[in-house]
């Protein structure tokens, strides 16, 4: 019995989704008892690869070995049996089940669950003690915080006997404190011999806690490094492929009068939960105001309120001479008529309609325009002609207004949406994630256009999860954490470290910052 110390080995794993080559002959080897990071941009194929390992998808070709045994999973069942557990980015929990019920689902042991629940209770209590994973067992998971739900997911894996635990972007939804807690748990697991595969695009996490790191780019595995022998700069370069200097030249901002003034905003999200409070700022003509923050700290909710999609519960927004307050709402259409354009964060769900032709997607929000309608008749030939001209202006390819929106690439879809919003010559631009899931070439193009709009004297509010994007575009940056503004800096003075602290709302309490760095 030869026992190597390799837990997972992938050899030439290949996977297509339709025309998309998600994983291109990927090789990977993960040592037992280590924390192995896999980094890459969104869409690099990390999640697909791990889902293959977890049996959720099947590889088209290639070989997988788990603890030196050939492994082929047609469902997650085999993976679980082989000792692999996975914590997905979106938790796989049944909301109205208790923690205990969630944990035993799929590994009940017998046909009746009373006994299974009792056994699980004993086992979970033991695991919780061993790894510091205390959770209340008889509470419905929907009542737990996100961090606690993640613990349940980890417990699920451990209960099912996982010796390899895969975590997909585990910190994306966590507060900095919760993240620290999670990393502490990682250490405890590692000490017990559990192998951890951490998928992330946050380089800081990789540097802090992993032993090894592998880099993926466009479906290919491009490099393997020992964490101690690499640095964030090298990893970033490997992720992106070439040293891209997206430092777009911009002239000094010619700042004019405020076009949008937000005072003491308090906003609830769609579920009625308060996500933004006491937020005040101004966006002035000729400047880009960047709003930075970890995803889910209220920026998205703020953006929707500025665009008229969500109502205010407190405060007011003065915009182009009109006032929005909890009592007087303006809907997205009224705001558009005032000259407020909105590029939504979620392109697929909100910015376009996949089954609509490009010309129809280009009409969204402007369907009631006077020049496009004659009486009850919507002038479709004019709509198509307009679409063709904005497609040309923004180099949308292929420039075919009749093509279904879903048939364009992500970058071209985004350009079509930007073209729709920019070409009406608005005064205020509210832009969310302008380059998410967009190829490098398009990123450059899009950023230049945003700068052009600034130089044309528009007021621009920009939200992005990419700190680099916020820093390279913004003239002024406000940082949000947990629904409140935790800092304001000039674009020129901004550095990643300070912004990071503000994003964690750690500036006022230096002790915690120290703790985080240990």
């Amino acid at each position: 019995m030869t026992k190597s110390n390799i837990a997972i080995e992938l050899i030439n794993v290949d996977k297509h989704f339709g025309a998309v080559h998600a994983n291109d002959k990927v090789n990977l080897s993960v040592k037992t008892g280590t924390i192995h990071g896999i980094v890459g941009e969104n869409g690099a194929g990390k999640s697909t690869l791990m889902s293959i390992l977890y049996g959720f998808y099947q590889a088209d070709s290639g070989q997988i070995k788990v603890f030196d045994k050939d492994f082929r999973a047609t469902s997650s069942k085999q993976s679980i049996e082989a000792g692999i557990g996975m914590v997905h980015q979106h938790f796989m929990l049944v909301d109205n089940f208790t923690v205990l019920e969630n944990v035993i689902l799929g590994s009940e042991g017998g046909a009746l669950i009373t006994e299974s629940l009792a056994n699980a209770r004993v086992e979970l209590t033991r695991l919780a003690k061993e790894y510091g994973l205390e959770v209340e067992l008889d509470i419905a998971v929907e009542e737990l915080s996100v961090g606690m739900q993640q613990r349940v997911e980890i417990l699920k894996g451990l209960y099912k006997g996982a010796k390899v635990l895969i975590l997909d972007e585990p910190t994306g939804v966590l507060t900095p404190q919760e993240s620290d807690e999670l990393f502490r748990i990682f250490e405890a697991l590692k000490n017990e011999g559990v192998t951890i595969i951490l998928i992330t695009h946050k380089l800081r996490e990789i540097m802090n806690i992993t032993d090894h790191v592998s880099v993926m780019r466009a479906g290919k595995m491009v490099a393997h490094r020992e964490t101690s022998k690499t640095n964030p700069e090298e990893l970033a370069e490997l992720m992106i492929g070439r040293k891209v200097l997206l430092n777009i030249k911009k002239s000094k901002a010619k700042i004019g009068k405020p076009l949008l003034v937000a005072k003491n905003l308090e906003i609830n999200n769609e579920q009625g939960l308060k996500r933004v409070s006491e937020v005040s700022f101004e966006a002035r003509s000729g400047e880009i105001l960047g709003i930075a923050g970890v995803t889910g700290n209220g920026q998205g909710t703020l953006l929707k309120a500025l665009a008229g999609i969500l109502p205010l519960t407190k405060g007011s927004i003065e915009i182009m001479g009109e006032t929005i307050s909890p009592k007087s709402r303006l809907n997205p259409e009224q705001l558009r008529n005032l000259g407020v354009a909105h590029v939504p964060e979620d392109r697929q769900k909100m910015g376009m309609i996949a089954d609509f032709s490009a010309s129809e997607t280009a009409l969204m929000g402007y369907q009631n325009d006077k020049d496009l309608n004659q009486g009850i008749w919507l002038k479709k030939s004019l709509v198509k002609a307009n679409c063709a001209s904005i497609m040309e202006a923004f180099d949308v390819r292929p420039p075919n207004p009749n093509l279904m929106s879903s048939n364009f690439s992500g970058g071209n879809q985004q350009k079509l949406i930007l073209a729709r919003e920019f070409e009406r010559d608005p005064e205020v631009l509210i832009i969310g994630q302008p380059t998410r899931g967009v190829d490098i070439g398009a990123i450059e193009f899009i950023r230049k256009r945003i700068i052009q709009m600034r130089d044309a004297g528009k007021a621009i509010v920009l939200i992005s999860v990419e700190l680099e994007e916020i820093m390279s575009l913004s003239d002024r940056i406000i940082v949000m954490c947990d629904g409140v503004i935790t800092g304001t800096v000039n674009g020129a003075d901004a550095d990643e470290a300070t912004l990071g602290m503000m994003m964690a709302n750690a500036l006022e309490s230096p002790a915690e910052v120290k703790g985080a760095e240990v």
């Binding site: 977890y54 069942k77 049996e81 796989m92 689902l105 017998g110 669950i113």
Partner: protein, 324 residues
């Protein structure tokens, strides 16, 4: 007074008889919807089973063979529903409608083809149908006032399927809340992805749930044509499948509450027969049609959220498409 008492007992007795197919069909719907498959084809399955059961009972001379044939026919329809809505991820409501219409047409066509009479099957002889069972001790208890009448009229004197209906509800409860299958069933209707990533087959679970539903509907249909009456007649289920669906919603997908809703709706139906032409002081005659429509109106009011809230299983009506 004693007349009123007897009438009340007899109305309850009628309610029990009307209730039976509602119970079987709504329990069938409970399995389907708990697994995340909306089943508006209950009516069609009841009808098909009623027809096949009556036909088989008549041809083979046995109510039990009729019952088995009915369960089989109803299960076939359930599997068609599954094939369309689980395997091919079609619209669950559309395929439910298809099953109802198909059953309605096929029963008419097949009665004509097999028995040369459009819409009816031969009348069943006593040995070809389920007959009332007199429970032991009726004679003894009969002398006791009130209890005697209740025992004789209400509790005793039903056929085996009636007793089965009332036994099936606690069994359903036990299966749903105390067994592994039940745990997985509830999970797959709420979050099929959680089930898939736990290494279980979403499709397998949903097919099994529909199969159980098919069998239960089959018993309900067989009851209508071989126990409640003695032959199949055109459209004889008369909306029972839809009332069962209403009861399922009214009982918020919980076996005991659904049973209560079934009984309430059955009682309203029994009452509407009793009250035909009865003139009350002050209010006058209550329109029978109003009582007939009451189950639907009550369900609408519940759905509107004016009396509690009916929240269906989260994943219901959504085909499971595997993606992250």
């Amino acid at each position: 007074m004693s007349d009123f008492f007897l009438t009340t007992v007899l109305t309850f007795d009628a309610s029990v008889r009307i209730c039976v197919p509602l119970i079987f069909a709504s329990m069938a719907g409970l399995f389907a919807e708990r697994s995340g498959v909306v089943d508006i084809g209950l009516e069609g399955k009841l009808l098909m089973s009623a027809f096949i059961a009556a036909s088989a009972a008549s041809v083979f001379g046995s109510p039990w063979l009729g019952l088995i044939a009915g369960m089989f026919a109803s299960s076939v329809l359930a599997m068609i529903h599954g094939f369309a809505s689980i395997t091919y991820k079609g619209n669950q409501i559309v395929s439910g409608v298809a099953i109802n219409i198909l059953a309605s047409g096929l029963t008419m066509i097949l009665t004509l083809a097999w028995f040369k009479r459009g819409g009816i099957t031969p009348t069943l002889q006593n040995d070809e149908r389920f007959l009332s069972i007199t429970l032991p001790g009726v004679d003894i208890i009969d002398h006791i006032p009130i209890i005697g009448v209740i025992y004789r009229e209400l509790i005793s004197g039903h056929n085996i399927l009636v007793y089965l209906a009332f036994v099936i509800v606690p069994i359903v409860w036990w299966v749903v809340y105390r067994t592994r299958f039940g745990l997985r069933l509830r999970a797959v209707g709420e979050n099929p992805k959680a089930v898939d990533t736990a290494g279980l087959s979403v499709e397998g679970l949903r097919y099994r749930a529909l199969l159980v539903g098919g069998i239960l509907c089959g018993i309900g249909g067989a009851y209508i044509s071989t126990a409640y009456t003695a032959q199949f007649t055109k459209e004889m289920t008369a909306g029972a499948g839809f009332i069962a669906l209403a009861a399922l919603i009214f009982g918020k997908w919980h076996p005991y509450k659904v049973l209560a809703a079934c009984f309430l709706f059955a009682f309203l139906q029994a009452l509407s027969i009793r009250l035909q032409g009865v003139v009350f002081p002050v209010i006058g005659e209550i329109p029978v049609q109003l009582i007939d429509a009451a189950p639907y109106i009550l369900t609408i009011i519940l759905l509107a959220g004016f009396i509690g809230k009916a929240v269906p299983p989260k994943a219901s009506a959504q085909p499971y498409i595997k993606e992250l």
